[in-house]
Amino acid sequence: MRRVISAIVLNEHGVLSRIAGLFSGRGYNIDSLTVAPVPDSEFSRVSIVTSGDERVFEQIVKQLHKLIPTYKVIDSGEYVEKEMVLVKISLNEDFSGLDAILKSYNGSVANANENYIIVMACDNASRIDCFIKVMKKYNPIQIVRSGSVMMEV
């Protein structure tokens, strides 16, 4: 089962490695992992998308909490979850319908040059999956996903 967790951890040397090592050492899955400092604090916020049954999930939460730099683990309640994707498309493609697609996925054109354009979309992970599927018709050269960020509501 897909799960999302946020952890507030001290923004210190090696903390991301501790988290990644916890997952790899214990055989848990990481579907995506995003980290950035929490503004005006000494903490970073880690957003993790993982999968597993109830028991595995409980252990992930407990083991995350056991890490010395962990301040808080947020694992319940409702989230707003957003992920970003960048898609590079050759200018030789036929762009008909692209505007409408971008509009429906909070998307826009992020960059363009004489060879290609880069479009972006920002939405929840399952809709990003759909967006990528739709974009396949433009024969993308490259696709980069950001991983999810979450905020509890």
């Binding site: 090696g14 050492g25 252990q59 407990k62 301040y71």
Partner: protein, 558 residues
């Protein structure tokens, strides 16, 4: 405010923490630390002959004394040698602080001579680790290292200190208090949960205490003895808990698990309420999980929340320091009459049905007899360190441990080569006789530590139960691999007596009961290290045995 260099800060911190002994091995990146170690008179440094042994010695010291063990090593290979020691201590939740030298900060990341990503390597085998990047943070980090090592679920903490930080000068203010926003172990059990646990015990018909190493780590032995005696609940002990109850306590059913007693395994299997105190449902205890305690509810007391519910669901989870929780439980428990008598009577039948035993012989020495006679000759009051394997299980089964901190053994990681160096640590922790019991395989793994003992005129008696085999692996090959003894036959052997003599100690080789008794009595009179090589029955097996993956009630009894 004192202005000190990093090495002086380390010495001062150790003084503040009350450290008396440090086990270690010097090298280039640790030179400044060692120079200060030479100058100071706060603690005694004991030079081991290998970094792995330095950490095992600190670990053995910690187990025997209840204090934090401390070790110093240098960077690169000095540190990598120490990793097995860290992992051993981590697996058994032993408080120790390892301070390793690191190449100077500008050299980190350049593949410099004797550089290794020490904190990267130690991360999965320590409770926490630090790379010190500035002199300003060194006092705080040292304070936190000791605090983290000994508080909560204890464990090893590694502090990696670059050489230029050990030389840099800064203000030394050693914090009196710890202010860690992110680390606040829960030490008091939740009152409601304790109340519910008491009710569950009162309602149960077949409760069993399942005691683990946490009982020793939290010094909860007295409270557990009181609780067991008041409620008259029988107890099974893990390898790590031996000594928490007296061996002759009639409630003590002995060790549980793969080589546990018949009574312990049956009682745990038939119980309707498992009261797990500081244990973690290790696979060597539970056997086949789906068959484990099938009819039992579980009260699980542990200071580490992640241990609760990890293997076995607990209906009554209690997070807290076991000693505190036991004080509360003793206060709240209200058992009227001897309601568990029928249950104890049932267990009494199990005890009589298959007691621990062995077929003694006058032709060849039996290891069980040797272990029993170590106890007799030392008055059951020696500190016993073991390696890992058959001899370890014979010690666990046949040595009557009556007090905590008398058995030093690598339970979680199962580290061969642990016995002798941990005995080295114990020799500085206790005035009692220290006896290391090893097999012929494990003894060779850290044999160089005989030198540490000889150099310091410390008496440790090393008893090698020599069956010319890697005995436990050979036993598995006998039972499960149709006697294909692949690489376990150690028939070609060194002369252990001469080796010990070569180090400057005294050696004995014995083949008979009388020779053994005489050798041990003589060794106890010596003021130096000795080896007693005991030629034992080559094909003796450790029984009972639960085959890996089988239910613990399905024991091979003979």
């Amino acid at each position: 405010m004192k202005r000190l260099n990093g090495s002086q800060m380390i010495s001062e911190a150790l003084k503040h923490e009350g450290v008396e002994f440090v086990f270690g091995y010097p090298g280039g990146a640790a030179l400044n630390i060692y120079d200060e170690t030479y100058k100071q008179n706060y603690f005694t440094h004991i030079l081991t002959r290998h970094e792995q042994a330095a950490v095992h010695a600190a670990d053995g010291y910690a187990r025997a004394s209840g204090k934090v063990g401390v070790a110093f090593v240098t960077s690169g290979p000095g540190f990598t040698n120490a990793v097995t020691g860290l992992a051993t201590a981590y697996a058994d939740s032993i408080p120790l602080v390892l301070i390793s030298g690191q190449v100077a900060l500008p050299l980190i990341g350049t593949d410099a001579f004797q550089e290794i990503d020490a904190v990267g390597i130690s991360r999965p085998c320590v409770k926490h680790n630090f790379l010190v990047k500035t002199i300003d943070e060194l006092p705080r980090i040292l304070k936190e290292a000791f605090y983290i090592a000994r508080s909560g679920r204890p464990g090893p903490v590694h502090v990696d200190v670059p050489k230029d930080v050990t030389a840099a000068i800064g203000d030394f203010v050693y914090p009196d208090e710890i202010k860690m926003q992110t680390y606040k172990p829960t030490t008091k059990g939740h009152p409601n949960q304790i109340k519910k646990a008491c009710e569950a015990i009162s309602k149960s018909k077949k409760p069993i205490l399942y005691l683990g190493g946490g009982a020793i780590n939290s010094n909860a032995s007295d409270e557990i003895r009181k609780f067991a005696a008041t409620a008259k609940i029988p107890a099974v002990l893990t390898l790590m808990a031996l000594g928490v109850l007296r061996s002759d306590d009639e409630l003590n059913l002995g060790m549980v698990g793969m080589h546990g007693s018949y009574a312990a395994n049956m009682a745990l299997s038939e119980s309707d309420l498992i009261i797990c105190l500081g244990a973690r449902f290790d696979d060597r205890v539970t056997g086949k999980l789906s068959e484990f305690g099938k009819n039992a509810k579980v009260i699980h007391v542990d200071i580490d929340p992640s241990s609760i519910g990890k293997i076995v669901n607990a209906e009554y989870p209690i997070v807290g320091d076991l000693k505190n929780v036991m004080i509360e439980l003793n206060d709240k428990i209200d058992i009227k009459d001897d309601i568990f008598k029928p249950w104890r009577d049932q267990i009494e039948i199990y005890k009589k049905l298959h007691p621990l035993g062995y077929k003694d012989s006058d032709e060849v020495l039996k290891p069980q007899w040797v272990v029993q006679n170590i106890a007799k000759i030392t008055g059951e009051d020696a500190i016993i360190a073991t390696d890992v394997g058959q001899h370890q299980m014979w010690v666990a089964q046949f040595y009557p441990f009556n007090e905590p901190r008398h058995l030093l053994t690598s339970g979680g990681l199962g580290t061969m080569g642990y016995g002798l160096p941990s005995a080295v640590g114990a020799a500085w922790a206790s005035d009692k006789p220290v006896i290391a019991v090893s097999g012929d395989g494990g003894f060779l793994m850290n044999i160089q530590e005989l030198m540490t003992l000889v150099a310091n005129k410390k008496r440790v008696i090393n008893i090698i139960l020599n069956n010319n085999f890697l005995g436990m692996v050979r036993q598995w090959q006998t039972f499960f691999y149709e006697e294909r003894y692949s690489n376990t036959d150690l028939s070609i052997q060194p002369n252990f007596v001469k080796i010990c003599e070569g180090f400057g100690g005294v050696g004995f080789s014995v083949k008979t009961k009388d020779e053994f008794k005489a050798a041990l009595k003589k060794a106890l009179e010596l003021d130096t290290v000795s080896v007693i090589e005991v030629k034992i029955d080559r094909f003796e097996n450790v029984l009972p045995m639960v085959p890996a993956g089988a239910a613990i009630y399905n024991m091979i009894l003979e």
